[in-house]
Amino acid sequence: MGLALFYILIFPGFLFLGFLSLAFEFIDRKLYARLQNRVGPPWYQPLADLIKLAAKETVVPREAESRLFRAIPSFAMAATAAAFLYIPIWGKTSLFPFDSDLIVILYFLTIPTLTFFLAGWFSSSLYAEIGCIRAMTQFFAYEVPLYMSLLGPAMLAGTWSVSGITEFYSSNPALALCNLPGLIVAVFATQGKLERVPFDIPDAETEIVGGTFTEYSGRFLALFRMTIDAELVVASALIAAVFLPFFIPASPVFGFILFLIKVFIVVFLLALMRTALARLRIDQMVGFCWRILAPLSLLQVLIDLLVRGVLVS
């Protein structure tokens, strides 16, 4: 019981994940700034933002569904933190590996998007409703390519467990190169999941004020921001575990350092995309996901099926 609480609250649960997500938000923003040739925020910036928001006045609009409005941010944070428990952090296996935990992680990562939709819907504000419907439209566009791109590597490895996939590819590193199309799809789809440029259509501040979070303020907004930061870490760690399972050492300390480096690489790719691209329209985004990402992820599945056929025979 005590150990379970330690896992949930401290490591690798809320406290550790919170620390990590603030650190990676800083890294992301600093990379973004450096790529734009400016200095960027100081290291404590995400922490200062969080404390300021938590200490600010919090208002629930009279029109909003009060209880759900308050509860939804906690659901988002809890789901993301739960997903983190099943991701390998210091080696080849996660803390609680079980068969098909890849599916569970993907489900947990779906919940924040659904909470964004519900948050916008129960705000009963025009801009928030437009934002949440856009979030949902976008969700149906990127989710299928994301699932299929992660399906390929799992099929080649012959297991649905992240630990099993990592184990398989770290013993056959050459096979991980087959998953290159899947990596591209997964990085693009993650950008959509995190609602960042070029897929920040749901909270496009130049069009629809604050999007889904228009009515959110104070500590609820702080929780949502934490959720998005944590999602960045969890999604990057998942991509790192499935697509970059190289050189995993036996020592947990080096394993953890390597984990940080891999997450940094994925965050760098995401930041590069955020800098280089501009926001798409919602129809362009859906078209891009279904016309380019979905066939690419199908190609990934095909490659993995063929390679597996050659391996088995």
Partner: protein, 142 residues
């Protein structure tokens, strides 16, 4: 109290702004946007432009308050969360400038809402806006 000091520190380090035009000729608005470009890099001070008044701490207000915009300005101000600050950017926002006494103009921003900092200029330079924001934050230190 240590908690109060931490909260005050956080507030000084992360002023999120929202930009409102209460009837300006657009020159000050362009300068405000110029101040937010990578060239001036206000993210060094933690300044971010927010779309929703519920997220923002500082209302950057440009232009004289026209009769039409007065109610909207007050609505936007009231939707902001405490603690909130207002900066009047440009001579018109400070005192209505050349529009003072015009049939459709009420006066400066302070005729509608309380103002914490005045930045004169026609239009203000981005450096002046950043200087004004930093001075406002400096005055909040104690």
């Amino acid at each position: 109290m240590i908690v109060d000091r931490i909260i005050n520190w956080a507030r000084l380090k992360s002023p999120w702004i929202i930009h409102f035009n209460s009837g300006a000729c657009n020159a000050c608005d362009i300068e405000v946007l110029a101040a937010l470009t990578p060239r001036y890099d206000v993210e060094r001070f933690g300044v971010q432009l927010k779309g929703s008044p519920r997220h923002a701490d500082v209302l950057v207000c440009s232009g004289p308050v026209t009769i039409q915009q007065r109610e909207r300005l007050i609505t936007i101000y009231e939707q902001m969360m405490e603690p909130k600050f207002v900066i009047a950017v440009g001579t018109c926002a400070c005192s209505a400038g050349v529009f003072n006494g015009c049939y459709c103009v009420e006066g400066g921003v302070d005729t509608a809402i309380p103002v914490n900092a005045y930045i004169p200029g026609c239009p203000v330079k981005p450096e002046a806006i950043i200087d004004g924001v930093v001075k406002l934050l400096g005055s909040l230190k104690d």
